[in-house]
Each structure stands twice: as structure tokens, then as C-alpha cells.
Symmetry: C2
Subunit: 220 residues, 2 copies
DNA sequence: TGTACATCAGTGAACGCGCGTTCACTGATGTAC
DNA sequence: TGTACATCAGTGAACGCGCGTTCACTGATGTAC
């Protein structure tokens, strides 16, 4: 997986400092939001001067971009790990919920308010479809979605039949594609409102709504 | 509805300038995001000096707070108007979708990434429950949710029975509460991903997914 | 209708701040012979 | 093992910028008699 060539001490040190910078950046984002991220503030917390960070990142934008990519990566890894240990759709859902609750600002880094000008780096689309592939596998594994029987074939299913490029190369039938999208949006529906605090004040448990939405999906 | 006392010309002028400031603020937010909102930039665009704005708003925070409140208000009004013209759940859903698509940054002002420190003003909770009340009415009007028969009573329904303060005073049975929450989260699931651009690249029509999620809700 | 006064919108200068980023530099760490 | 050199992490000063906000002020608009 990694390079055969041995890491020099300097390289090891560089990697370590880069990691530490990111660590402080994440902390700062969690505290005051991504728009408040400041290189100088990070440097100060690390006990070094502002310009020193330019040895490690080309600038603020590159740092943020890397944090965003890391967040995508960590979600994809979470899904892959869950699937590898035999999780079904519900297992994936719970893994995702745990991932989101563990660090809400990381969730928002990926799924939150987009900055109108900013465009995500190219490699995240690859990571995103990795994630989607795991979900599609789980859907196709359901007794009902695996074969292409017509019981639940809806107008949207027909539409998906004609617009399935995003499931690139995946043999899932339309019913599975449909379920995967429902899965994805329902989870985000509960999570985004919950994490943004729109359920505080209402006294019910968002986790139970999350499960109810999931049950309703797998039972359809 | 309005004050009986006649508005003086000065008051009219003030109201007009305040509105113009907000207009520019909205435009700026739509262009560069809420975190980029700058009083000086607004003043410059209006052809006046920065400090002049302090005649109209106590500061940047008050302006943002008012924009947030306006956004809540406009959503609530959209729901009320739809309900008043006889819309059912699907009608409400489409009204909300239109509202969101008309101005994505306004949507994000209400439902987007929260700034960790910031707390929404107190009056928005009242506006939010206005909105919820309209949805609850529409759910209770469904043949199935109006009476409290037990066909679809789930564990989550039972939980809601004990945590229904948020539906304050509303006589809706648990099944209606449940459906209202599913309604709310499913719409946000599709909309938040769509508006954040997470479906670009996938070629399907998010509007059809939106409708499919809605159908699945009303058919259950 | 005209004058005296109060109200208030808007200005321009100024304050202090923190930001991202550049540059020439010092000093320590690693490399080659 | 020791010396000469190259690499490179980190510093401190500086640049220009735009920000929110305050303050004393001018000049126009409205009000009272």
C-alpha cells in the first residue's frame, strides 16, 4: 500500500507537523466554524510564527481543501469498514449516524452550507461514489431489490433506469438505486436537522425518528 | 393589522432604507455566503459611508439576526398561504420546494451550517411552530391520521405519545405527529443535498426523488 | 406665513484589529567526501 | 571520524487590506409658535 522506500526522519517530522496543524484546524472549526479558520491563530496555538505554516501548506485554501477531503475520506472509510464487518443497511445507517454525531462540524464540512464560489476538489467525487457503491451493495443484497421484479416499480424507478450513470458499473436494478437514494436522503434529513439544532426544544429522541425512517425504508 | 397611526414621511423613509440595506445584504449573501456579509461593502454599494448604516441597525449581528428572522417568517408565510388555498401535504411540500429553490442561500440561512457560538433569536421558535402546526393540520386531515386507530402504531409512535410538547395544544394523534416529522425530515433530506450540490454529476432529477419520497410517505 | 428650534440622516477621520501572504534571514539538521 | 556543503524549518519585519465600530461634526428635514 505505502511506498517501499523508507521514510526519512525529516519526512516523518513533516508529516507529523502537518497532522498537528490539521488537528488544530479541526479544533478551531469545531469551536467557531469553518469560516473562522485562521492560519495565524493556528500558528499561535502551536507556538510558532504564522509564516512557518507555509512550509506545510500553500495557503489557507489548500488547508481547508485538505480538511474537506479528509472528511469525505473518513466517511467513506466508515462505510467500508461497516460493510466489511458484515453490516446491512441498518448497520450502515448507524455507522453514519455515529460518524456524524462524533463531530458535527466534520459533517457540515461535507454536507453543510456550500460557499457559493468554492468548488470541491476533483478527488472527492471519487470518494463519494465509493460511499454510494457500498450503499448500493447493501441494497442489492436485500431479498427484494436483488432481482428486478416489478412489485414496487414506480415512475421514479423508470426515470432512474434512464439516468443511472452515477451508479457507474454497478449492476443494481432500479429498485435498489431508488432505495439507495431514499436511504441517503432520509438519513441526511434527520441528521442535518438534528445537528443544526432544529429538534432542540422538541423533546423527542431524534435517534428513534432516525430508526423509524430506516424501518420504513427497509419495510417498503 | 397595521398601526392605526399614520406613518410620518421620515418613518417611511427609514423603513425604505432599512429594506434597501437588507436587499443588498441578501444579494451579498447569495453571492459570497453569509460569513462574507460586510456592512462597509453594503454601504459602498448603496453609495454611502459605512457608519451611516448604524442609523438603521445596531451592528452586523442585528442585521444578520433580522435576515434570519425574515427567512423564517417567509417560510412560515409560504406554508400558511399554501394551506389557506387548500393545499394538502403534497401541496405544502411543493410550496416548500419552490421556496427553497427560489433562493438557496435563504434556505441555508435557516437550515444550513450553524455557527457554533450563535443562538437564534427567541421569536423564531414561535415562527417555527407556526410552520409545524400547518403541517400537523395537513396530516390530521389525512383519512388515516385523523382518528387514532392502531394499524400503523410503531414504537416511535408510542415514544411520541410521551413527548408531544412540541405539538403544543395540537390534538393530532401520534400517527399524525410521526407523519409530520417524516414529512419534514424527508423534504429536508432531498432539499439539503440538492441545494448543496451533492446531486450534480448524478444525472437524475431531484424533483422526482422529492415526489417519490412524498408519495412513499402519504401511501404508508 | 415666517421664524426659532429640535430632530436626525449622513460624513469623514480615526481606532485597533487580525487577516493572508512575501521576503530576506538565521540556525539547525542531514549529506558527501 | 571529521570537515565542507546543501537542505530546509522557522523567524521577524513588513505589506496592504478590509473589517466593525466610535465620535464629533454638518446640513437638511420637520415641528412649534
Amino acid at each position: 500500500m505505502t511506498q517501499a522506500r523508507t521514510e526519512t526522519p525529516r519526512e516523518r517530522y513533516r508529516a507529523q507537523v502537518r497532522a498537528e496543524i490539521k488537528e488544530h484546524a479541526r479544533e478551531q472549526i469545531a469551536t467557531a466554524g469553518a469560516s473562522a479558520l485562521s492560519l495565524n491563530a493556528i500558528a499561535k496555538r502551536m507556538g510558532m510564527s504564522g509564516p512557518a505554516l507555509y512550509r506545510y501548506f500553500a495557503g489557507r485554501d489548500e488547508l481547508i481543501t485538505e480538511l474537506v477531503t479528509d472528511a469525505y475520506r473518513s466517511l467513506a472509510d466508515t462505510f467500508r469498514a461497516a460493510a466489511a464487518s458484515g453490516a446491512d443497511l441498518a448497520g450502515l445507517a448507524h455507522a453514519m449516524r455515529a460518524w456524524a454525531l462524533a463531530d458535527p462540524q466534520r459533517y457540515f464540512l461535507v454536507f453543510g452550507t456550500p460557499v457559493p464560489g468554492y468548488h470541491a476538489p476533483a478527488d472527492v467525487t471519487g470518494i463519494a461514489s465509493e460511499t454510494m457503491a457500498v450503499i448500493l451493495d447493501a441494497c442489492a443484497a436485500l431479498p427484494h431489490d436483488g432481482d428486478g421484479d416489478g412489485k414496487g416499480a414506480t415512475a421514479f424507478d423508470a426515470h432512474l433506469e434512464g439516468h443511472r450513470q452515477w451508479a457507474d458499473g454497478h449492476p443494481a436494478p432500479p429498485a435498489a438505486l431508488h432505495r439507495a437514494l431514499s436511504f441517503w436522503t432520509r438519513l441526511h434529513g434527520v441528521l442535518s436537522l438534528e445537528l443544526a439544532g432544529h429538534f432542540t426544544g422538541m423533546s423527542f429522541d431524534p435517534g428513534l425518528l432516525f430508526d423509524a425512517e430506516l424501518d420504513d425504508l427497509t419495510a417498503r
